[in-house]
């Protein structure tokens, strides 16, 4: 197919493809850069594509024992005065907050004292690349707990939607019963409801059940659309599994539970992996339902969301929080990628 494209088509195709890649890649790169930038880099324009690992300041000694600090804008407009001080703790805070350089104030002063003999000069310090991440966990004190909560609620969601959804999917695929079509359509309709809409009545129910502000309660909510999705995905796979494979198992000595566990389930594994990824992402990325259904036990996505709202001074901390949020999702996706690949690319059932 590709071989038959002529040069013009190829070029157009390449441009479109490049454009699509850029659309995805540039914001992502920017986002990663921001999460590694310090406060002063944030105010720069145009921004560096890659965050620098060093900070250079220009220091001029003053007569009253103070030093005047200039920060290099690197755009040819020269040095801009930032602060004039000889207070060690003030200097330490300034370095940390503005430049993400973690250093003892006294040490910085000692470095600067060289200007007394050598005259005004530049100093280069190494940036703490993970300052934003550390700071994120510092500003948001419950971030660690939230990460744990997120993992728990995701696992619950996967568990509930897989166990119920795959059984429903199996029934829809294998058995003829009254209302089968209606249930199939009904499942789709469940997907149409926005989870926020379900959250409010769900909150009332969970309070009555004593499950408000618990991870299992939240997982119940996330499972609602995902049970439907899981049964849709798995039923299509179960239909594709030749019935004779199960019948062979019955003939050769297995009962129905053994057959399901040893024959049907392993063959439906790619579908399970795919739908568990969907379940995971729903639970992992949701903020609005978590906002309604939790109080103290917040999830990581919610915490990041709140951090963006509250840390007005540093968008870079929120960016770092978002990276923290992305990493487990990436890891999970990569682990099950191989099984999903099987579904789309060819194990013969």
């Amino acid at each position: 197919m590709m071989d038959r494209l002529n040069a013009v088509q190829k070029t157009v195709f390449a441009i479109i493809l490049a454009g699509m890649v850029m659309l995805v890649a540039i914001p992502l790169l920017f986002f990663i850069t921001v999460s590694f930038s310090n406060s002063t880099e944030m105010t720069q324009f145009p921004k560096n594509i890659f965050p620098s690992g060093e900070v250079t300041v220009y220091v001029e000694p003053k007569d009253d024992g103070k030093y005047e600090l200039f920060y290099d804008y690197q755009d040819g407009s020269g040095y801009t005065s930032i602060i004039t001080t000889n207070n060690a703790s003030k200097l330490e805070k300034h370095f940390a907050r503005q430049y993400a350089v973690v250093m003892d104030g006294e040490e910085i002063l000692e470095e600067f004292s060289r200007t007394r003999t050598e005259g005004a000069r530049e100093f280069t310090f190494r940036k703490d690349m993970f300052y934003n991440f550390k700071q994120f966990f510092k500003i948001v004190p419950n971030a660690g707990v939230a990460l744990k909560n997120s993992i728990i609620v995701s696992l619950y969601t996967i568990l509930i939607s897989l166990s119920l959804g795959s059984l429903a999917g199996y029934a829809i695929a294998r058995y003829q019963f009254k209302g089968r079509e209606q249930i199939n359509v009904g499942l789709l309709i469940v997907r149409m409801f926005p989870t926020v809409g379900i959250s409010i009545p769900m909150a009332v129910m969970l309070i009555k059940m004593g499950l408000y502000d618990t991870m299992i309660g939240l997982a119940f909510l996330y499972s609602i659309p995902n049970i439907a999705l899981t049964s849709w995905i798995t039923s299509s796979i179960f239909i594709g599994i030749n019935k004779e494979l199960e019948e062979a198992s019955y003939v050769f000595g297995a009962n129905s539970i053994q057959t399901f566990l040893k024959i049907t389930l392993p063959m439906a594994f790619p579908a399970m992996a795919a739908s568990s990824m969907y379940s995971f992402l729903t639970a992992w990325n949701d903020t609005i339902s978590a906002l309604i259904l939790t109080n103290e036990n917040q999830t990581l996505a919610l915490v990041v969301y709140k951090a963006i709202g509250t840390t007005s001074s540093g968008i870079q901390y929120a960016a770092a929080g978002s990276i923290v949020l992305i990493i487990p999702a990436l890891v999970f996706t990569f682990i099950i990628r191989k099984y999903i690949g099987q579904m789309w690319g060819g194990v013969e059932l």
Partner: protein
């Protein structure tokens, strides 16, 4: 009492639906190789599935060794099966596939290993035990299915069109191999097929089925030469039997079967059977190889018509001649003596050795 007894077996899928299997009665001796033969939809696969327990029965009884199995689960029946799609589990290695039934029986590990090895050797796949089915050809997968079926040493060995997914060459060699395995194992086997040459070459006895009913049970030669119904005569044999509409006429001592374009003097052995049909219409069937042709239009004993050869289909060892006799525009004649027969040759047709079959128009049963 026979080893496997099927008594008045019935099957309908819905309560008021048609009978898919209609009052079937069959006795099979221990060690026999039985082939269920019939066109698709004749109930042969349904029957074998009822024996295996994968399909519930609607009526009747099935006994093995004097003991009814109809209320048992498939796994309690001691049957093994080869499926049309092989049903080799794609997520297990060949070894695990063959060992699966033994593992479920909770046999000790070294015994499982020994028996899997033996079963694999019987089908010559001992070198493939670590492979996955996806890495194997159709024929090899078929062998895995056979190994898995023989490893359990079943009371009944059921095969549901196991060769139909193989290519023609492999099908023929697998036939011989299955037969060899059967001879070695001696297990009572039921083989389902719609391919008559498969049935003829493998069966001890063939059960010809049509529309849920057994048309004839007999050895391959019996169903071929001594077909019990018009359907059997038509279904078995390539090319199929030629049929003519004939009326029976009695003239003095002789009986003639006459129709449009032919006049056949019925051999005296059939006189008593045809006595009641004088003046009636019947179906006359002659197999293509039982029509003798004489090129010079001589008339000998068994003569029934003159014909002009419309087409000649040479097959190497023999030729199929196509001609038109009366209303039947597609009469086929199998001839070995074909060197000087060309399109347009005028010949006289004779029935060889009185090998003619008459069938009742209404019941389509053989008149003999």
């Amino acid at each position: 009492m026979s080893y496997l007894e099927i008594k008045n077996l019935q099957k309908r899928y819905t309560a008021k639906g048609p009978l898919i299997v209609d009052n079937m009665n069959l006795s099979i001796e221990k060690g026999e190789f039985i082939v269920f033969l019939g066109p698709s939809g004749c109930g042969k696969t349904t029957t074998i599935r009822m024996i295996s327990g994968l399909e519930e029965i609607s009526g009747g009884d099935i006994t093995v060794d004097g003991e009814s199995i109809v209320n048992k689960l498939p796994r309690e029946r001691g049957v093994s099966m080869i499926f049309q799609s092989y049903a080799v589990w794609p997520h297990m290695t060949v070894y695990d596939n063959i060992a699966y039934p033994l593992k479920l029986q909770k046999l000790p590990k070294d015994e499982i290993k020994k028996r899997v090895q033996a079963a694999a050797e019987a089908t010559e796949i001992q070198g493939l035990l670590k492979r996955y089915p996806a890495q194997m050809s159709g024929g090899q997968r078929q062998r895995v299915a056979v190994s898995r079926a023989i490893v359990v040493e079943p009371r009944l060995f059921l095969m549901d069109e196991p060769l139909s997914n193989l290519d023609a060459k492999l099908r023929v060699s697998m036939r011989t191999e299955l037969k060899r395995i059967h001879t070695k194992q001696g297990s009572t086997s039921i083989f389902v097929t719609h391919d008559q040459s498969e049935a003829m070459s493998m069966a001890d006895r063939i059960v010809v089925m049509y529309k849920g009913k057994i048309e004839q049970i007999g050895t391959p030669m019996e169903v071929y030469q001594d077909s019990a119904t018009r359907f059997v005569a038509e279904f078995i044999g390539t090319p199929p039997t030629n049929f003519f509409d004939a009326s029976i006429v009695r003239e003095g001592q002789e009986i003639y079967a006459r129709g449009e374009g032919f006049d056949y003097k019925v051999p005296s052995s059939l006189h008593s059977a045809l006595a009641g049909y004088a003046g009636k219409e019947i179906d006359m069937g002659i197999r293509p190889e039982y029509i003798d042709i004489l090129p010079d239009q001589r008339k000998q004993d068994g003569y029934f018509c003159d014909a002009r050869i419309d087409f000649v289909e040479p097959q190497g060892s023999h030729s199929i001649l196509i001609t038109e006799i009366g209303a039947n525009k597609n009469v086929k004649i199998h001839t070995v003596d074909h060197m000087d027969i060309k399109q347009g040759t005028k010949v006289s047709c004779h029935v060889k050795n009185g090998m003619v079959m008459f069938f009742d128009k209404e019941s389509s049963k053989r008149i003999k």
